[in-house]
């Protein structure tokens, strides 16, 4: 039984890392613009599908991954420029619906480009399982964990160490004041969308060898990422990371111990409980009240 638990934990942390990256993307955009971007999951899907397509076209993995990430960043910037910017100052409901529209639109594009089939990516370094203390770990899981840790550390350093990162935080805290001290809020907004699109794409490329990808793959991932952000305290980037891992572990435990069919229900039930009893998240929320 303990080995089994450990196995669930490993699975949970792997999938949770993915939720963490998507949740981090949510938090970045929410901070910069007060918008919850329901197209976040589609960034993940676009990253995975583009990388698979480029790989199939004969490009080496690294090149395919870089191009796929850059293309997704481009999509994120276009989304900001042509869907979010024109609706500046709109109500919460309006922006939610705009980003839902964007998500459906991107799904539609993917459907036209790649059809309804499932696609998968070859694991980065083979698929011979590694035994760690009674649990079987796929090498790809280690890739997911490793890259996630590096990405999260980079984002953290970006906010804490660089002027640009601090400027972005300032925007999140008080947009008018940020503008007053000479920060170009528009540029910051684009930065946030580009950054979170890139994070999403990388998450997609990392997970593609483990789960199959299709034009619809982003829907549930996006929702889980949003859940991670809520559990962590919306607008709190590191909270979203912790929330994502927590959600992944809970889901894996639920799937293993209760029923795999109900794992999504368990995850959302947990999110509902958090919303009912601790709506500002389990890990504190950012200083400015945004509700």
């Amino acid at each position: 039984m303990p080995e089994q638990l450990f196995q669930f934990l490993v699975t949970g942390i792997t999938i949770g890392s993915l939720y963490a990256l998507v949740g981090l993307g949510f938090a970045l955009i929410y901070n910069a613009s007060d918008v919850v971007n329901f197209a976040q999951g589609e960034f993940v899907m676009l990253g995975a599908m583009t990388a698979i397509a480029l790989l199939n076209a004969g490009l080496p993995l690294l090149v395919a991954a870089v191009i796929a990430t850059l293309l997704t960043v481009g999509v994120g910037l276009l989304l900001e420029r042509f869907a979010i910017e024109p609706a500046a100052g709109a109500s919460v409901v309006t922006t939610i619906i705009i980003t839902i529209g964007a998500a459906i639109f991107l799904r539609g594009v993917a459907l036209l480009l790649w059809g309804k089939d499932f696609h998968s990516l070859k694991p980065f370094s083979g698929d011979a399982p590694i035994q760690i203390g009674g649990a079987t770990v796929l090498p790809q899981s280690l890739w997911v964990l490793g890259v996630t840790v590096v990405l999260v550390a980079l984002v953290r350093a970006f906010f804490n160490r660089t002027l640009l990162g601090k400027a972005l935080l300032a925007c999140a805290f008080n947009r008018t004041a940020a503008q007053a001290v000479g920060i170009n809020v528009k540029v910051m907004l684009r930065l946030a969308y580009g950054l979170s699109a890139g994070l999403g794409a990388l998450a997609g490329i990392l997970i593609a060898p483990i789960t199959f990808s299709s034009y619809e793959a982003g829907v549930m991932l996006g929702l889980k990422g949003f859940s991670a952000a809520i559990v962590g305290g919306i607008g709190n980037p590191m909270g979203a990371v912790a929330g994502g891992v927590l959600l992944g572990v809970l889901e894996a435990l639920g799937a293993g111990l209760v029923s795999s069919g109900y794992k999504d229900a368990i995850a959302f039930l947990f999110v509902l409980m958090v919303l009912f009893f601790e709506p500002t998240g389990l890990f504190g929320h950012k200083a400015s009240e945004r509700v």
């Binding site: 709109a90 409901v93 619906i97 529209g101 639109f105 036209l112 829907v219 859940s227 229900a265």
Partner: protein
């Protein structure tokens, strides 16, 4: 005349099959549009008037449909009794869920209703013993209204249109009453509404329950009309479609919701041939309407016409609300 628009609409609905006899498009697509109108008008009470978003409304549609399906096929209940049970179940579920959920606002409310919808869908898929799982439930008997078995496209058109007109009439009445004004007040300023003596939590709960009842009603009819239900009809995409209908026509306008529902039904039918493009168009449409005409097509156009009209008459145009 308060209900002039309603009577004109009812006359059009009644005349359509007479003008186009034996027309598959009119009776079948019309019935499908009618169900969507019931759903959209109900959701509009919550979203448009009370100002509370719901991204999980397909769940209540499903509760009504499955209540009718399960009770008639497995327990042999008469269809009207099953319909009533579906309404009761959806109403109770909405009521129990409303109190904790409607304290939330904006994105939190969106997440909570979304989670609710996903959970409901998972249960429909997983509770195979009751719901038949992903394969759904077949063999639902026809609707039996006091001995009259509703059969054939034309009869169904009649039943669904009557139900739809009832829904529209109820909605129009509700909005133009003190209950409706209290709801709109909650949307306009929750502070002021409370200070006028409106129990805002109760008002929101009422809106949530009523819109759930509308959805469950449509669900029961849908189950009997199709004689088959499966979870696919009640998933997240359907919830999003319902929201699309409401915002497409225009929030806070009953006829806006009617137009949105009809427009989206027609659009989907028109795109059936280009099935792969449906998503693309649906997504683009949602974005475009929200960016360029956030008050919705119907409301936006009627305002434009009114402005044009008063410009021609030469009087002062009313300012947009």
């Amino acid at each position: 005349m308060r209900l002039a628009g309603f009577y004109a609409f009812a006359a059009a609905v009644a005349l359509l099959p007479a003008l186009f006899p034996d027309n598959y498009f009119v009776v079948v697509i019309g019935a499908s549009a009618g169900l969507n109108v019931i759903l959209a008008v109900g959701l509009n009470l919550l979203m448009g008037y009370a100002g509370q978003i719901s991204l999980g409304h397909a769940a209540f549609f499903g509760v009504g449909a499955y209540a009718s399906a399960i009770l008639t096929t497995r327990f042999g209940w008469p269809s009207l009794l099953a319909l009533a049970a579906g309404l009761l179940a959806a109403g109770l579920l909405a009521w129990g869920f409303a109190r904790p959920i409607l304290r939330l606002r904006g994105h939190y409310l969106a997440m909570a209703t979304l989670g609710f919808g996903v959970i409901a869908h998972v249960v429909m898929v997983q509770a195979t013993h009751w719901t038949g799982g992903p394969d759904g439930l077949a063999g639902i008997p026809p609707l039996n209204v006091l001995g009259w078995r509703v059969e054939g496209d034309l009869q169904w058109y009649g039943v669904i249109m009557a139900a739809m007109l009832l829904a529209v009439w109820l909605s129009l009445n509700l909005v133009d009453s003190q209950v409706g004004r209290a709801l709109r007040a909650v949307h306009g300023s929750e502070f002021a509404a409370q200070m006028m003596g409106v129990d805002t939590a109760r008002a929101k709960t009422q809106a949530f329950v009523v819109s759930a009842l509308f959805a469950a009603f449509a669900g029961s009819l849908f189950a009997h009309q199709q004689a088959f239900v499966s979870p696919d009809s009640f998933n997240l995409a359907v919830s999003v479609e319902l929201v699309t209908m409401v915002v497409l026509g225009g929030l806070a306008s009953t006829f806006g919701a009617v137009c949105g529902a009809i427009a989206l039904t027609l659009l989907q039918q028109g795109l059936v041939v280009f099935e792969d493009y449906e998503m693309l168009v649906h997504g683009a449409l949602l974005m475009a309407v929200m960016i360029f005409m956030p008050q919705g097509l119907f409301v936006g156009l009627t305002q434009a016409v009114r402005r044009l009209g008063s410009a021609l008459v030469g009087s002062k145009p009313p300012a947009a609300a």
